[in-house]
Symmetry: C2
Subunit: 322 residues, 2 copies
DNA sequence: CTGTTAGCGCTTTCAG
DNA sequence: CTGAAAGCGCTAACAG
């Protein structure tokens, strides 16, 4: 194992100078920085994180926190794509990726506390956003830096998001152009997350521009009959926007059960289904989760790297109908 | 921050004794172990991993390695479920979860080397298995402990797997019971992974028992016309077993394009699709990925915890047709 | 601009 | 069975 002392010796400087040089401390002459760096590269020096973290009190790692889950949410491929985008950026920065994923909120809290107190992680990415979330509260109270994926419930939080209002409007407009539905459905989850409400706003805007009527539907994943009876009460529906691919699939399925012979055009969000299912009369909005992961990481380090981003405290990612 | 010295002081022992007590060192009297432990609990002591790792030279973390990917593989919900199962077990052991997920093999190698040399991680879970995989080779050469999810290509590796031959047979049998197809298809990926070959063996066994004929099909995700022309040459196909839900969906889709009016019953693997898609004439085999994650972790620590498992070097997980 | 020194919190000889 | 002391590899005052 090659340590900083080996490098110092080779370069003919003290360990502290070597350390400073490797960290590009501005008080060190460019000449020695270059020399030390060259030697470090030659020797294939890789700093020991544990030693580094012990002295600085801050881990060279970022914590990524998954939502706790009743089976369906967590396993959305969306999250892995975010994770992949995050790690791309972390590798560049010499940071490791630590993950908290649990089945109960209680375990999640323990997991996050361990990250903070035992691993000394100071930077987090929160893959979800919920009002009165104790995890976010805890991070805030302890002055830890974190970025929310999605619309935060506390306006001072850092976040990366899509423009959901606009995306909701675009999806609705696309639907209207493709077929000419006259009685629309808006399909969302029982939780009615913030992002769903925003997409709904976009939907409403376009619908009212066109003087169309619409109906709201709630997908209860555990009980499809409630959705079917809702659909049964609205036989005129001929087009739908769903807040998510899964909700869209559930709606289609129930719709076909109630009206086996009717066609309904539908839009979803997330592009989370196998490509082959996207054919024909199903379109979805890709929200570029990898890009979200990358930008979240950018934002997470903006205090050190880009003050101009840091002031805004948020970044937006585009969307694309596919 | 409460350190081991605080505990030692309270307990009226030296820091070294406190350390030994907390690690249940057998040379320490039960009395002091209990006393020290009680005080530690009272004070809410959480050991600093960085300090611990620095002295022991081994991280309190496990590295989980994702396959590199052409978009489709990584984002399979299967992996998150494994991750979740792994973390359940890690929490119990006071271990952290570190993840390597990259787009190129080159980056993955760097990522894993960083885990080893910088984070001092000594235990890994490999979420895939490939012949001549440089990552597995590297882990082996450096005598690092790792468990493969799936069938390893080197027989001395530790692994967790399903009985794929049996599951392939069961799926085929189920298909034969449900409908009475006479001309079967077996659908797999161009890579033809080990687990696909095993499921194929099970499939063949049942098919030959029943004196049926079959045809192999390869799904090329980037070019559906090749699959369609394969299907076109075999108009008699009336049932299929696919090695994976995605392959199954692709096959169904191509089949419907070629023969819009024909029915085909099909079985897939992985239970990776939204529940609502499982209806009617599509069944899939759930392979309990969470359970695989848990068992992989068990195996990863079997050297310390369960010698009887350690000798077998592998564990199997069940399956269920859903 | 650079070197000396101390110390982060833990474990681990070595000694008793 | 327990204590004293050293040290893991790094960074951060402090001093020059």
């Amino acid at each position: 194992m090659v340590t900083i002392r080996d490098i110092a010796k080779q370069a003919g400087v003290s360990p502290s100078t070597a350390s400073r040089a490797l960290n590009k401390n501005p008080h060190i002459s460019k000449k020695t920085i270059d020399r030390v760096q060259t030697i470090a590269d030659q020797l294939g020096y890789m700093p020991d994180y544990n030693a580094k973290n012990l002295t600085t009190g801050e881990a060279s790692a970022v914590g990524v926190i998954f939502p706790v889950d009743g089976h369906a949410v967590q396993s959305n491929p969306f999250y892995i794509k975010v994770l992949s985008g995050v790690n791309d950026e972390l590798i560049k920065r010499g940071y490791a990726l630590s993950v908290a994923i649990t089945k109960t909120l209680d375990d999640l809290q323990k997991n996050v506390k361990s990250m903070i107190y035992q691993s000394k992680i100071k930077r987090f990415i929160l893959l979800y956003s919920q009002p009165n979330d104790p995890i976010a509260k805890f991070l805030r109270e302890n002055h830890l830096r974190f970025v929310v994926i999605g619309q935060p419930t506390v306006e001072t939080d850092y976040y990366v998001n899509n423009n959901n209002v606009e995306a909701g409007a675009a999806a609705t407009r696309y639907l209207l152009e493709q077929s000419q539905p006259e009685h629309l459905a808006f399909v969302h989850s029982p939780e009615n997350w913030l992002f769903e409400k925003e997409r709904f706003t976009g939907f409403q805007n376009v619908v009212s521009e066109h003087n169309l009527d619409y109906q709201e539907f709630t997908v209860d994943q555990s009980n499809s009959t409630t959705l079917e009876s809702q659909i049964f009460e609205h036989p005129q529906i001929d087009g739908a926007v769903a807040t998510d691919d899964i909700n869209a699939m559930n709606f289609i399925d129930s719709f076909k059960k109630v009206y086996p012979l009717k066609q309904v055009e539908i839009m979803g969000f997330n592009n989370s289904l196998p490509k082959v299912l996207l054919d024909r009369n199903y379109r979805t909005v890709d929200l570029f989760p990898e890009e979200m992961g990358k930008k979240a990481t950018l934002l997470l380090f903006s205090d050190r790297e880009d003050q101009s981003i840091d002031e805004k405290k948020h970044l937006l990612v585009g969307y694309k109908i596919v």
